[in-house]
């Protein structure tokens, strides 16, 4: 299957909806080990993305992703704004002027996104951040796709890995971001950024599933 700009739009809409739904949940997670704004931050960002989509001039995949990245950077603030913003920008850049993309390009774009997050935030795995959900997901995606050649199946594996990665942040001691200030007290809480990353992974899978069915 080929992923089109319409699929990307659907994905963004789904993320915006899910972020709005999960706003309190994400904020509550952030209250426990951060400053109680993660859900509110992302909701502000993706709501603005939604308001900008209808009048976007560059409606290519890369155009939409870059618009999303720029908008997140300009409206989210905090740590997650530059991180997710950079991720979308890098993904857009990786895709370039392709009108549609296949599995390989999708995997490359997601890898570029993760690299962007790592460059910007200077965190590695195991520091109790969104990276602990995103990195295993991309690993699983690559492996499963290499093994099966089935993108949908690979994405399902990725979402499972993402969820496991998110859950695995709970016993971790935070050493990056705001949660690191809590030291030992950060242990036992789920990282909010890992939770929002999982939510985006789920949205990506749902979009692919619909695309395959529809």
């Amino acid at each position: 299957m080929q992923i089109t700009a319409d699929h990307v739009t659907s994905f963004l809409q789904l993320v915006a909806e899910r972020v709005k739904e999960q706003r309190e949940y994400l904020t509550r997670l952030d209250a426990a080990i951060g400053d109680a704004d993660h859900g509110v931050n992302l909701d502000r960002g993706f709501s603005t993305v939604m308001s900008k989509l209808p009048t976007a001039t560059d409606r290519s995949i890369s155009g939409l992703l870059k618009l999303t990245g720029m908008t997140l950077i300009s409206t989210v603030g905090g740590a997650s704004g530059p991180l997710y913003g950079t991720a979308f920008l890098r993904a857009g850049t990786a895709i370039g002027d392709r009108a549609t993309i296949g599995a390989e390009e999708l995997i490359a774009a997601l890898s570029a996104a993760l690299e962007g997050i790592q460059t910007r935030g200077k965190a590695t795995r195991g520091e109790k951040t969104m990276i602990d959900a995103i990195a295993p997901a991309i690993d699983a995606l690559k492996e499963q796709y290499a093994a099966s050649g089935d993108l949908l199946a690979a994405m399902r594996a990725a979402v499972t890995a993402c969820e496991q990665g998110m859950i695995a942040t709970e016993p971790m001691l935070a050493t990056k971001g705001r949660a690191s200030y809590l030291g030992e007290r950060s242990i036992g809480h789920r990282d909010p950024g890992a939770a929002s990353a999982f939510l985006m992974a789920q949205a990506m899978l749902a979009t692919l599933e619909r695309a395959v069915q529809g």
């Binding site: 400053d35 931050n41 603030g77 740590a79 704004g81 990056k176 705001r178 690191s180």
Partner: protein, 332 residues
């Protein structure tokens, strides 16, 4: 949630609108992107800007004016501002001598300011940055996000603002800023949590006989929870780690800053100041200057932070120099 607000999502803009009217002689407020800028900007000097999440008032907007900041960028409550704000503010205050960014050490603030600095540099503006990280409650290690920037930020903005006003160049301003940061240490505690308007619920819950020790300024829990203690014990808990860290030594002259977290009445702050003064006297440390009040806050949180800054003659001269902002004013 009990607050004097209309809608949680409009708190920051409406408060900015009020500030703009109340201090129309000192500042202008620009919206979208939001920043507070000193009247008549740019001035013929190094521009000094800062920014951070809202909810810490009067910091930073209340420090915009003669002898302190040229602009401040307020983010959403407890959320770092976005690069658009710092870029616009940097352009607005750039008088051709470069702009200093004063950034508190939080991942979000650092990243957003970094992006703004890159963008400003791309437009040919010389930008230097200083990151404050004075909170001794947090371990400073290459394996962590490092110490938080807290109370020293206020003192640094005053001192560097005075240097810029007196004509110091960008490199000198940055050097003074780094010296102030290097010689200042802080630690804070909370008696009550606070509620981010859009979250609607307090950041943590505390029993009637509990307090959080080693808090930052974002309504987050502290390093540890303890049984409520008398003022003199709390003063020891805060002053001890500060004094040992630099370390401050017998014979040092310091600026003693007792800061309320927003919901603490002045009577308690003076009482805490009395305890701090006693501790310093015991260590033969002289209080050469002081500041007591709610200056770097966490919404309505009840609590206190201590900041000690080891002073040298130049810092004292710059601290004493005239300042005229909404929240700090003397000499004019």
């Amino acid at each position: 949630m009990k607050k004097l607000i209309n809608a949680p999502e409009n708190v920051v803009k409406e408060a900015l609108a009020g500030m703009a009217i109340a201090h129309a002689d000192l500042i202008d407020v620009h919206f979208d992107p939001d920043y507070i800028v000193r009247k008549g900007a740019p001035h013929n000097k190094v521009g000094v800007i800062s920014g951070g999440g809202s909810g810490h008032e009067p910091m930073h907007g209340g420090f915009v004016g003669y002898g302190m900041l040229d602009a401040a960028c307020p983010g959403a409550v407890f959320t770092s501002p976005v690069p658009d704000q710092m870029l616009a503010a940097t352009k607005a205050v750039n008088g051709g001598k470069g702009v200093l960014h004063i950034v508190k050490n939080y991942t979000g603030d650092v990243m957003n300011f970094e992006m703004a600095a890159e963008l400003a540099a791309a437009e040919g503006i010389e930008v230097a940055s200083v990151v404050t990280n004075d909170d001794v409650a947090v371990e400073n290690s290459t394996w962590t996000a490092g110490r938080r920037g807290v109370g020293v930020t206020v003192l640094l903005e005053k001192i560097v603002g005075a240097a810029a006003e007196a004509g110091a160049d960008l490199a000198t301003c940055k050097a003074i800023a780094e010296r102030v940061n290097a010689h200042g240490r802080s630690m804070g505690m909370a008696l009550t949590p606070c509620t981010v308007p859009q979250a609607g619920k307090p950041g943590f819950e505390l029993a009637e006989d509990e307090m959080e020790v080693g808090i930052g300024i974002h309504g987050e829990p502290g390093r540890r929870r303890e049984k409520l203690a008398p003022a003199r014990d709390i003063a020891e808990m805060l002053a001890g780690p500060i004094l040992d860290d630099l370390p401050f030594q017998s014979g040092d002259a310091v600026l003693a800053f007792v800061n309320g977290m927003g919901g603490t009445p002045l009577i308690e702050l003076y009482l805490m100041y009395n305890e701090l003064a006693r501790i310093l006297k015991d260590r033969n440390i002289t209080i050469a200057r002081s500041l007591v009040g709610n200056y770097i806050t966490s919404l309505e949180m009840a609590g206190v932070s201590f900041t000690l800054l080891r002073l040298d003659d130049e810092m004292i001269k710059l601290w004493d120099a005239p300042v005229h902002t909404p929240a700090l004013r003397w000499g004019m």
